[in-house]
């Protein structure tokens, strides 16, 4: 999401005797809070270790740390590339590269996701920027949905996570592209511009390129990293606490299996660069159900819904998210039936 500058204060006019109180001063100073938190944890090391000594907690923490250590390098890679594109590629380039006819622009923008790597957290602001630069919203939405699912980093991660099922990579690419294009065309038919909130001004204007680049990296790592922690906690809980029999029961019925993993993808909100590894560990489930997990996850989950609401407005997100979810499930099942 864009970090916008505060409007310059007018202190020298003398009209207002009381300047507005600085919001930073009223809140607890965060470096201080961070230091206190660190000290507290170091002081209470003994009791904390004792509480974490139970096998459940140890196993939970191992999986939690493992998901993060494994996902962070991919997140950092994606964030670096997306910052480079956001800063060094002029936005007008995208407008020039796309066909004028909106119906044609949708699949082209969807395919463009292949060469514009980034995790889903990065693609929301990029799609917002595309809309601001005059790209037809349908094409921007197709890009928004396809980019996090089909870029090289994600496809490589999928291939690494499914060494025995290379067809999974192709199925993911095909299903994700189909959903992205279908949603784009659906917007062309049914979408109304008044549903779209005009997105906030781009953050990186008026800064040096270096500052903009590192600012984008910092913001994306902190933001996406925080959500990654949420996903890792959920994944660890699923692995260490939820009895295997639940998952096995859900996995036994093919219909429930697909719906269960679609719901899981929405709730877990894992970064698309890491979700393949979680899917690979859900060995009880059919490949089709796991494909649904991989197609739904990058397109719609709790954190994406929050980000879309912030960037495009609530009216848009409330209509767009359920439609995407339903379409993603249907297309995944069909693709799974044909290819897996």
């Amino acid at each position: 999401m864009a970090v916008t500058k505060a409007p310059p204060r007018t202190r020298d006019t003398g009209e207002d005797p009381r300047p507005a109180p600085d919001p930073e001063a009223r809140r607890l100073n965060s470096p201080l809070l961070l230091t206190l938190l660190m000290l507290l944890v170091v002081l209470c090391q003994g009791p904390i270790r004792g509480a974490l000594g139970a096998p459940v907690m140890q196993s939970w923490m191992t999986v939690f740390v493992a998901v993060l250590v494994q996902a962070l390098p991919f997140l950092v890679l994606g964030v670096l590339l997306s910052a480079a594109i956001a800063v060094f590629v002029p936005p007008s380039f995208f407008a020039r590269a796309l066909p004028k006819n909106p119906t044609l622009a949708v699949p082209v923008a969807g395919m463009a996701g292949v060469v514009l790597p980034g995790c889903e957290c990065a693609s929301v602001p990029v799609a917002g920027a595309l809309v601001r630069r005059g790209v037809t919203p349908a094409a921007a939405l197709a890009f928004l949905l396809s980019a996090p699912a089909i870029n090289p980093i994600v496809l490589t991660a999928t291939a690494v996570a499914f060494p025995r099922n290379p067809e999974m990579v192709v199925a993911r690419l095909v299903a994700s592209l189909l959903v992205a294009c279908a949603m784009g065309w659906l917007w062309l038919r049914l979408g109304r511009t008044d549903l779209l909130k005009s997105p906030a001004r781009h953050a990186y204007e008026g800064q040096g390129k270096g500052a903009a680049f590192w600012g984008s990296v910092r913001h994306d790592v902190m933001h996406a990293g925080g959500f990654l922690v949420v996903g890792a906690m959920a994944a660890a809980t699923l692995k260490a606490v939820v009895p295997q029999t639940w998952l096995r029961t859900a996995a036994e019925n093919p219909v429930i299996a697909v719906l269960a993993l679609a719901a899981l993808a929405v709730v877990l909100s894992i970064c698309s660069e890491a979700d393949a590894f979680v899917a690979a560990s859900l060995t009880q489930f059919s490949l089709t159900a796991r494909l649904t997990f991989l197609v739904v996850g990058p397109m719609i989950d709790l954190k994406l819904f929050a980000m879309q609401t912030g960037t495009f407005g609530r009216a848009f997100a409330l209509r767009f998210a359920p439609a995407t979810l339903a379409l993603a499930i249907v297309v995944s099942v069909l693709t799974g039936l044909v290819m897996l």
Binding site: F64, A66, G226
Partner: protein
């Protein structure tokens, strides 16, 4: 969280990744092949932290005041720091192993065994040969395998190795039952090197019904945890 705090979190997170990658700590969580990526991510995070601090300092020097509204969710990044630096949880052990069904899979082929001397086999290699090759070439040979101890509900001992595809989230156990001269006291999660002979005895895993072969052991000696606690042969 303001930019100074973000810079601090990024720096410590990068340092923690570097520390994990430069020691063998990372092998508890991810496969060995991810090491260069883990190290590179650590370097980038530290660079980001330094750049953030530098631009923030310059902005302050120029007295440009920003109203930074940063997402609260960033505070969660503090959790893995504590987990990785203060606790450094151990590799997955008997608790996970007994909750998960054995993941023994048929291999495409098995390498030729040496003609003489004790056979030092990987635990999953032995289990695969015992179950799918019915112990061909193993009869009458002394077999040495290494793994950690896990006890089921009835207290029956198994020797287990967790097999890994990518990270500990996808780790799955391969189990071998122990019979014969079992040591009187077995501590779960303790690593053992056992010497024994092939037996046709089998059982089914209570979790997923997978096959578990047995080893008739003659000798068991405690060994330290290996450098890489996971079996990564599945990675190819």
């Amino acid at each position: 969280m303001n930019r100074q705090a973000q810079s601090a979190v990024l720096f410590v997170l990068g340092a923690a990744l570097l520390h994990a990658g430069l020691t063998d700590l990372y092998l508890r969580y991810v496969k060995a092949g991810l090491r260069p990526l883990v190290l590179a991510a650590g370097v980038v995070l530290i660079a980001t932290a330094l750049a953030t601090a530098w631009y923030e300092w310059r902005a302050r020097a120029k007295e440009q005041e920003h109203a930074h509204r940063e997402p609260r969710v960033s505070w969660l990044l503090v959790l893995p720091l504590f987990a990785l630096i203060l606790v450094a949880p151990p590799a997955l052990g008997s608790y996970s192993a007994m909750r998960t069904g054995t993941a023994l899979q048929q291999s495409y082929g098995y390498a030729k065994l040496p003609q003489s001397g004790p056979l030092r086999l990987g635990l999953a290699d032995y289990a695969g040969r015992a179950v799918y090759e019915h112990g061909r070439g193993l009869e009458g040979r002394q077999i040495v395998i290494t793994g950690f101890v896990a006890l089921d509900h009835s207290g029956a001992p198994y020797l287990v190795r967790m097999a890994l595809n990518c990270c500990a989230a996808d780790a799955q156990p391969v189990k071998v039952g122990l019979t014969g001269q079992i040591p009187p006291v077995l501590k779960p999660d303790g690593w053992l090197q056992v010497t024994g002979t092939y037996t046709a005895k089998r059982t089914k895993d209570t979790v997923n019904g997978g096959p578990i072969p047995y080893l008739e052991i003659t000798q068991a000696k405690p060994v330290p945890t290996p450098r890489d606690p996971y079996d990564e042969t599945w990675n190819n």
